[in-house]
């Protein structure tokens, strides 16, 4: 295992290479206000990040990643376009024992905030990482969260159903449950059926949630009950999309055989990205494409996603990243900018270089 000094030195070398690639260094604090992270990730983050308290600033977290503070800094006072780089420790609580699960490790990262050509920016980040990692014989996988999103948006059904599915793209279990519910594959539970025939509780009203809020949801459930079920071929196509894995070079054609018309703009974006990658010397025949890549682990990414992994399945990805346009919208207080970036685990890279 690389010791801390080696990991730090490796992260410093990566930072220098990111700066040479045109980035400006940013140095976010290790202690981050918990509120923004909690608002973004929800309660899950408490299981993954160290929470501490400051008597004046309230709840703080030990930086679980750099992306959020970098976005905040850019949205507060960044000029466009911008390329940022950083290197330093991140801290991850580990609730489960297991191999190679460090709770404190060095990351070096590179982020692009640029409106001009998102697919070129995607390719720039990926090709930069691919070059830096080329000696390690890693396998790379790409995906695109925008594909599933586009397929959901293209379903011929109520906007409320599409919104509910889109909200759960990152939670496959709940997504599948909703899909089964909307396509009539699971029976309407008795409690729901009773509700729809007008049965109401006689219990006294308590709590902050108001009667009007309940009535609004019941109205939505009534509208939902009247809507026709999702067509089974649409559900089958969506499931086929979620399961699609193939070499990147074959992905556009494979996606077109699914015959989901709403996918066409997203497929065109994928083709532009693949062309940009090929122009930078990436071999699209060995690059893997996985339409569900990052679906349950890379929460805030909403477009292009990628990982570089070593052969040992017990190791976490050596590098990962993706596009997070929606995150800039959430943290931008009304403003937004297309953004893509990624991180390399410097210590893991040093380990693998030692073995190579």
């Amino acid at each position: 295992m690389a010791d801390k000094a080696q990991s730090r030195a490796q992260s410093g070398r990566l930072l220098a290479q990111f700066l040479a690639a045109g980035a400006v260094e940013v140095t976010p604090d290790i202690l981050q206000p918990a509120e923004a992270l909690l608002d973004l990730y929800g309660e899950d983050i408490r299981a993954r990040a160290y929470v501490t308290a400051d008597p004046l600033r309230g709840e703080m977290m030990l930086r679980p990643d750099f992306t959020v503070p970098v976005v905040q800094e850019h949205m507060a006072n960044g000029a466009e376009p911008a390329r940022y780089a950083y290197a330093g420790e991140v801290f991850r609580r580990q609730d489960h024992r297991g191999p190679a699960r460090s709770n404190e490790y060095f990351q070096a990262g590179f982020e692009i905030f640029d409106r001009a050509d998102p697919e070129a920016a995607d390719a720039e980040v990926f090709a930069l990482f691919s070059g830096l990692l080329s000696k390690l014989k890693l396998s790379a996988t790409i995906g695109d969260m925008g594909l599933l999103r586009a397929a959901v948006d293209g379903l011929d059904t109520l906007p409320e159903r599409k919104a509910a599915l889109a909200r759960h793209i990152w939670r496959p279990k709940r997504f599948q449950h909703l899909l089964a519910r909307y396509s009539g594959q699971i029976e309407v539970p008795k409690a729901r059926a009773d509700l729809l025939t007008g049965q109401r509780s006689g219990a006294p009203w308590i709590g902050l949630r108001s009667r009007e809020e309940m009535e609004a949801r019941i109205a939505a459930l009534e509208a939902d009950a009247k809507a026709p079920p999702l067509a089974s071929d649409a559900v089958a196509a969506l499931n086929a999309l979620a399961e699609l894995r193939c070499p990147a070079v074959a992905a556009p054609a494979a996606l077109r055989t699914l015959a989901i018309p709403a996918l066409e703009p997203a497929i065109a974006r994928l083709e532009r990205r693949l062309s940009a990658l090929a122009a930078k010397g990436i071999d699209l025949a060995t690059l893997q494409f996985d339409a569900s890549h990052g679906r349950s682990t890379m929460e805030y990414y909403d477009g292009f996603v990628f990982t570089f992994t070593a052969a040992d399945p017990d190791l976490p990805p050596v590098a990962s990243g993706g596009r997070y346009d929606a995150l800039t919208r959430q943290l931008g207080q009304g403003r937004e900018i297309p953004a893509v970036g990624g991180v390399i685990r410097a210590g893991l890279m040093a380990d693998l270089e030692g073995k190579a």
Partner: protein, 233 residues
């Protein structure tokens, strides 16, 4: 000596004593009513340690006791990756309680986790913060809701009188232990139909961290006496 940690008072202690008595092992408190000292008869080399039930998981994890009796809910809540720290030797058939999620009974539109998730989404949009669930079982509730793919909730800590938090407007739902459901009903709450997180009961656990060297024969004898398989530690 094998140190056996047992709850130091109340029904849990009495039932634990009864459970061991059925195997011919007499556990008893010694000294005055207020003194937490105990004795074991009918088993060789076993020392009784009387502890608060809530502290037994921690003592097992630290290896300061070899065996301990406590609720399976407390072990799962207090010990990260609990199976790597203790071995579940035997459910003891008492101290039954269910950890459940409950919401106001007046919420006619909420019966399941699917409903809770949808209501939480709307609640957050309306009120600007995530739907609050009051509990003291943070780990169990968080892991359950994450596994079930429920979103837009947050936990608020409640160490007692949890059922009252909703009427006091400090939470919208609760996750708590119930056996009869009477407290829930009295506070106008109902249990979600698929909101059972864990069925707890008093359980005999063995510590993986305790020093077992030289105790192998004693443990095997004790296990045989209790009608259990000797655990792999």
């Amino acid at each position: 000596m094998i140190k056996l940690g047992v709850p130091s008072k109340g029904r849990l202690m009495e039932k634990t004593f009864d459970w061991f008595a059925q195997a011919g092992i007499t556990l008893k408190r010694t000294g005055s009513e207020r003194e937490y000292a105990g004795a074991v008869e009918g088993a060789e080399g076993v020392q009784l340690v009387l502890l608060s039930a809530g502290e037994i998981p921690r003592e097992l994890a630290a290896g300061r006791i070899h065996l301990g009796v406590t609720g399976s809910d407390l072990v799962r809540e207090k010990l990260a990756d609990w199976e790597s720290q203790v071995v579940d030797l035997a459910p003891m058939g008492f101290g039954h309680a269910d950890l459940i999620i409950a919401v106001p009974a007046c919420w006619s539109d909420v019966d399941s986790l699917e409903d809770l998730d949808a209501a939480a989404h709307r609640f957050r949009a309306t009120h600007g913060f995530r739907l609050r669930i009051a509990t003291k079982y943070h780990r169990l509730v968080r892991e359950f809701l994450t596994r079930q793919g429920v979103a837009d909730w947050q936990l608020v800590d409640s160490q007692g009188a949890t059922e009252g938090t909703i009427a006091n407007l400090t939470a919208e739902a609760v996750a708590d232990i119930t056996s009869s459901g009477e407290t829930l009903r009295a506070n106008h709450l109902k249990i979600l139909s698929d909101g059972l997180i864990h069925q707890s009961q008093a359980t005999l656990f063995a510590s993986r961290a305790a020093d077992w060297s030289g105790q192998e024969t004693r443990l095997a004898d004790l296990a045989r006496q209790l009608g259990l398989d000797a655990p792999a530690l």
